[in-house]
């Protein structure tokens, strides 16, 4: 074991995304809640893309939720999708797998490993998602009221409308663009052409939210492969070098923060160089949340927002954030973007947020 004598973080290895695969976003799978059936083909696709195999991976990290699966230790069975023998160097976060990618990114930067595979999965259809998510709130003072995830988001949207920060038309425009973009995404669950006027004619689902404002309930899984910069070019011709990744959390007390802003996203973005990005894949499960995020990150009209269609086109819980990083990286790897931003969120009303910036490795 050798140690660096300097305390500088500048000297650490810079990891890059070299592969990304995801399952189709679907309303309901017939598979088990441990994700194995979704993960096996997705892992195979990521390995095929990169020419790597199980034995090439130095570290594995996944993200998922026992509550979504309805049982303790659901992630243990997911390891069966890997065929983890001989034993693997592995960890798991009870968070969206974007944070598993963060843990893997840190692991590569310690110099202990030079490749990592990150995966996330979730079978949202196994329960009543909006009620399951209400159990993320304070168990003593809030959860007993069963405020479901859509109602909390609706309160957030209402605050923005009343303060004049956005209009229902602004929200519908986000939905129209997302659905139109998703037509080019073969894995999207929802896509199509809709005029803003038509969308606004639709009935309210949870005032002021209409169906188009709310991400669908989605089962799905994603896989991202990372490699240290000096290894990445041997794997793909144009790796998406992660130049920075930051995450922050806000107070859980819904009445104690301005819900029309996202201070944690602002802080994460301010710690990075988010200027000059061509593309931003944002994890906004509600239309108004995209408006909050664009503002928090200072993304101007020149930035292409969520060309995949974003999570309004398919929101696989616990892998959707990782998929945003994968989608942004894919644009860079394909040469469609030089610099891309990806964002992931977790918790009620955008409580926790992660921002990553990637650029083509020169």
């Amino acid at each position: 074991m050798s140690y660096s004598e300097t305390g500088s973080r500048g000297g650490a290895t810079r990891p890059a995304v070299v592969g990304f695969a995801q399952s189709d976003c679907v309303r309901r799978t017939q598979g088990t809640t441990n994700g194995v059936e979704m993960l096996v083909p997705t892992l195979a696709e990521a390995f095929e893309q990169t020419g790597l195999s199980k034995s090439d991976i130095g570290f594995w990290c996944s993200g998922s939720s026992d509550y979504l699966a309805g049982r303790a230790f659901s992630f243990i069975s997911a390891v069966d999708a890997i065929g983890a023998f001989p034993p693997i160097n592995e960890s798991h976060v009870e968070m969206d797998a974007a944070w598993a990618l963060y843990e893997a990114w840190v692991k590569i930067r310690t110099g202990e490993v030079d490749t990592a595979l990150v995966y996330g999965f979730g079978k949202s259809s196994a329960g009543t998602l909006r009620r399951v998510l209400s159990l993320q709130t304070d168990p003593y003072t809030v959860a007993p009221l069963w405020p479901d995830s859509i109602s909390i988001a609706a309160l957030q949207a209402r605050l923005g409308l009343e303060s004049g920060r956005w209009s229902e038309k602004d929200m519908a425009e986000v939905a129209a663009r997302s659905l139109a973009d998703a037509r080019d995404n073969p894995q999207a669950q929802r896509s199509g052409e809709a005029s803003v006027a038509d969308l606004l004619d639709a009935p309210l689902t949870a005032d002021p939210l209409r169906a188009h404002d709310i991400a669908p309930i989605t089962d799905g899984a994603s896989v991202v492969i990372l490699a240290a910069a000096d290894r990445a070019r041997d794997i793909v011709s144009r790796p998406a070098l992660i130049t920075g990744i930051e995450h922050r959390v806000d107070s859980p007390v819904l009445g104690a923060r301005d819900l029309t802003r996202s201070p944690s996203t602002e802080m994460a973005g301010a710690s990075l160089d988010v200027g000059d990005v061509d593309v931003a894949e944002l994890h906004a499960p509600f239309t108004h949340q995209e408006l909050i995020l664009r503002d928090a990150l200072g993304l101007g009209d020149g930035v292409r927002i969520s060309p995949s269609g974003g999570v309004l086109a398919g929101n696989p819980m616990f892998s959707a954030g990782l998929a945003r990083i994968g989608e942004a990286a894919r644009r860079v790897m394909a040469g469609d973007a030089d610099r891309a931003l990806a964002h992931a969120t977790s918790g009620p009303a955008l409580q926790q947020n992660l921002v990553a910036v990637m650029e083509a490795q020169s």
Binding site: S77, E103, V106, G111, R248, Q351
Partner: protein, 386 residues
């Protein structure tokens, strides 16, 4: 390039079957406040928070770190939540260490907990899983066949399990934070206690505890600046294998052996038994002491029980195992692994009080989870690693 990291301070709660006097947040703060006092740091010194716990179903809160963000002092900071089965307290410590070793942060607060009295862990663990053999009734029923197999394979005398239990309870009585305080429990009493899952008796079984453990991990400069001793992190390792597959050795799993091999290699240790001064090993059922002594490479396969039987794992033995009393005295599941890591750190910091191992310079912390398939290890030392 890897940076050096050290445990600057540790803290834990008083552990009990039911801590109805505190909320989850209150329980965590008890451990956190003690760790921060021990490390002599304030909230402004903490760059990030890493929390670990076992399944959310144990308390009935989905991703409780979200609701706990304010109480953890994490608001406005990076917050990570680790979950790797029973090894989670060990894995969480390692993730926190890596945040410093990568050069990302200078000081990281890490905490792990379980408030088992909020539910019934035995039944929360016993949910039928498609395509898997049912656990039956909790972890004891799952592990009893492994223990029987170990006794058959090694030819260990029956009393060895009871000796471990009596020794760990004696050690625990020296630890004011330990849940079970049974200074006078004898081997004979253990052998006379109720049989729960043959051959595991009541007194050879860990309790179900409410409790939390916390540590502050800092970079080299923070370690150098500390007035009294810190525990330098010499090496960490983690390994996972699937729960079941044909030919799997569940008594002496390869994942554990591989994790140990890497740990000893990275720490520059060639003879663990003579070079390690104290071991905090995850022993939820007494027989796992000899089993893990072999799995970790302290003893050859089939001979772990000999070290126990000869008394060499007692506080004054060649390799004191679980001087704090271990999991057999205190088991807040999510925190149990971090307690092993922090108790190892306390030994090399010289802060273990009445259960201090004389002259401890190097100590190992060990945690395992799932069906003996998740392993997390670290080796800490009083001196800086080379």
């Amino acid at each position: 390039m890897k940076q050096r990291a050290a445990v600057l301070g540790t803290g834990q709660t008083h552990h009990a079957a039911k801590r109805t006097d505190v909320s989850m947040a209150g329980l965590l703060r008890e451990a956190i406040d003690r760790a921060m006092t021990d490390a002599r740091v304030g909230w402004d010194d903490i760059d990030a928070v890493v929390i670990g716990k076992a399944p959310d179903l144990f308390e009935g809160v989905m991703m409780p770190e979200l609701y706990l963000a304010d109480a953890l002092g994490a608001t406005g900071k990076p917050l990570l939540r680790v979950h790797t089965a029973g090894s989670v307290g060990g894995s969480t410590s390692i993730v926190a260490a890596s945040l410093v070793q990568s050069g990302e942060h200078r000081r990281v607060l890490t905490v792990a907990y379980e408030k088992q009295s909020e539910s019934n862990a035995m039944w929360a663990l016993s949910i039928p899983i498609p395509f898997n053999m049912p656990v039956g009734a909790g972890a004891g029923g799952y592990f009893a066949p492994h223990v029987r197999s170990y006794i058959r394979r090694s030819g260990a005398p029956e009393a060895v399990g009871a000796m471990v239990a009596a020794k760990d309870r004696r050690n625990g009585s020296l630890n004011p934070y330990a849940h079970l305080q049974q200074a006078d429990l004898t081997v004979e009493q253990v052998q006379a206690s109720q049989m729960l899952w043959d051959p595991i008796r009541y007194d050879e079984t860990c309790p179900s505890s409410d409790g939390a453990c916390a540590m502050v991990i800092g970079d080299e400069a923070s370690g150098d600046a500390a007035a009294d001793g810190v525990a330098w992190i010499h090496a960490t390792s983690m390994r996972t294998e699937p729960t079941t597959f044909a030919g799997r050795d569940q008594v002496n799993p390869q994942a554990g052996r591989d994790a140990a091999t890497q740990l000893w290699h990275d720490a520059g240790i060639t003879d663990p038994l003579s070079e390690v001064d104290a071991a905090e090993i995850y022993v939820p059922f007494s027989w796992f002491e000899p089993m893990w002594l072999e799995n970790l490479g302290f003893m050859p396969e089939g001979e772990g029980w000999k070290l126990t039987e000869s008394g060499e794992t007692a506080l004054d033995g060649q390799l004191p195992v679980n001087p704090s009393g271990g999991v057999l005295c205190t088991n807040p599941i999510g925190a149990s692994g971090m307690l092993r890591m922090s108790e190892a750190a306390k030994q090399v910091m010289g802060k273990a009080g009445d259960y201090q191992v004389d002259g401890a310079r190097k100590a190992v912390g060990h945690a395992y989870g799932g069906g003996s398939q998740y392993f997390a290890l670290w080796l800490v030392g009083a001196e800086k690693p080379e």
